[in-house]
């Protein structure tokens, strides 16, 4: 049977009971997305690679705890976010947020082919404070609940609500200026 045909739920169930081959397929399928996700969170591709690699080790270790194998991708994204949040917290004193912003907008310019709106959004996300960007991406891209985001970022659900609310203001405000 062709390996592309295995649905996520099946691969996750098998990987959870130790099928390393199933895990490899799962990783190959989702790593490009997870690296893109981590790059957005961390602001740098090199950091993202390390972050995702460590996160995937955690994914392997914790797969037996996954209760809904069909949503394995969102679950992996949350583990990546937790890893990214920890790393950002650890490096915060050394790297000013400005550096992250600049790098994010440089990347956006390299990819003019993404289209004007994507480029504008990319720049907007890059200029957003990192705690707001994290909750926005977890909510909108990974589809996480407030409680899940709170768990990943180590703050209360009401703090998550507040950050998301400020992120939305920035986004709506920013999009208004595109027109």
């Amino acid at each position: 049977m062709d390996e592309a045909d295995h649905p996520d739920a099946l691969l996750a169930t098998r990987a959870a009971e130790g099928d390393a081959d199933a895990f490899a397929r799962l990783v190959r399928r989702h790593t490009p997305f997870l690296i893109a996700f981590a790059t957005r969170l961390m602001g740098s591709r090199a950091d993202a690679d390390d972050c995702v690699q460590d996160a995937l080790i955690t994914v392997w270790e914790r797969l037996p705890e996954l209760r809904e194998p069909a949503s394995v991708r969102a679950w992996m994204a949350r583990i990546v976010s937790r890893q990214a949040t920890d790393r950002l917290r650890a490096r915060r004193p050394q790297v000013p947020i400005d550096a992250v912003e600049i790098e994010a907008s440089d990347r956006a310019e390299e990819r003019a082919e993404l289209g004007e709106q994507l480029t504008a959004l990319s720049r907007l996300l890059g200029s957003m404070p990192e705690d707001m960007r994290t909750v926005w991406l977890l909510r909108e891209v990974a589809g996480s609940s407030y409680e899940e985001i709170a768990d990943v970022t180590g703050v209360s659900a009401s703090t998550v609500r507040g950050r998301l609310s400020r992120a939305r203001v920035i986004i709506v405000e920013g999009m208004r200026q595109w027109r």
Binding site: D5, P7, G18, P32, F33, L34, Q117, W136, S165, M175
Partner: protein
């Protein structure tokens, strides 16, 4: 402009977001009839879908070659072996097959049946040489495959596999069809939208 009371509707941006997340039900006329609220709702929705699109675009780029192999090598050292099943031995040499390896053989046997993909496996009973065991295999079967015939083939294949790779005696092999899949259209793990 203020986001505490969008367009004089009496609703804040946060309330509008909650409304959008609830699928705009129950319907609130003060929001639906307010042009400013509609513009904000459209912007939020667009920003969400653009964010997903952005990540998908960026995710189209593969990681460095070797990156995944390096990761898998780290994981490979930690295969879930499970319990040891003695194969017997002589002259102080102990031979074992692990429960993990037996379950791998069970999965492979089920996969080998046309239209069948193994999901989970379970092994219980006496895991000693010659011990009688009960096995259970959960499978996904391709839509249109006659279920009973497929399940019987899985049962035979799994029993044969257990006896081939281990000294265990399969007493009972239960097959549960937990899912039907349609190939190759239904790679449903990929519907991330």
């Amino acid at each position: 402009m203020g986001y505490d009371d969008v367009g004089g509707s009496g609703y804040s941006l946060e309330e509008l977001s909650a409304y959008a997340e609830a699928g705009r039900t129950p319907r609130i006329a003060a929001i639906e009839s307010n042009a400013e609220c509609q513009a904000v709702l459209a912007a939020l929705e667009r920003a969400g879908s653009l964010s997903r699109e952005l990540l998908d675009e960026e995710g189209a780029r593969e990681p460095e070659p070797g990156w995944i192999d390096e990761l898998l090598a780290r994981v490979w050292g930690d295969v879930r072996a499970g319990r040891d099943i003695p194969l017997g031995g002589a002259d102080g040499v102990a031979l074992y097959v692990t429960e993990g390896a037996v379950r791998e053989a069970m999965r492979a046997a089920a996969d080998g049946v046309d239209g069948v993909l193994a999901a989970s496996t379970h092994l219980s009973g006496d895991l000693a040489a010659g011990g009688e065991v009960d096995a259970e295999v959960a499978v996904s079967v391709e839509y249109g495959t006659p279920l009973r015939a497929a399940a019987e083939r899985v049962r035979d294949a799994v029993a044969t596999a257990i006896a081939r790779v281990s000294p265990l005696v399969p007493r009972r092999v239960d097959v549960r069809v937990v899912r039907l899949h349609r190939l190759p259209l239904d790679v449903e793990g990929d519907d991330h939208d």
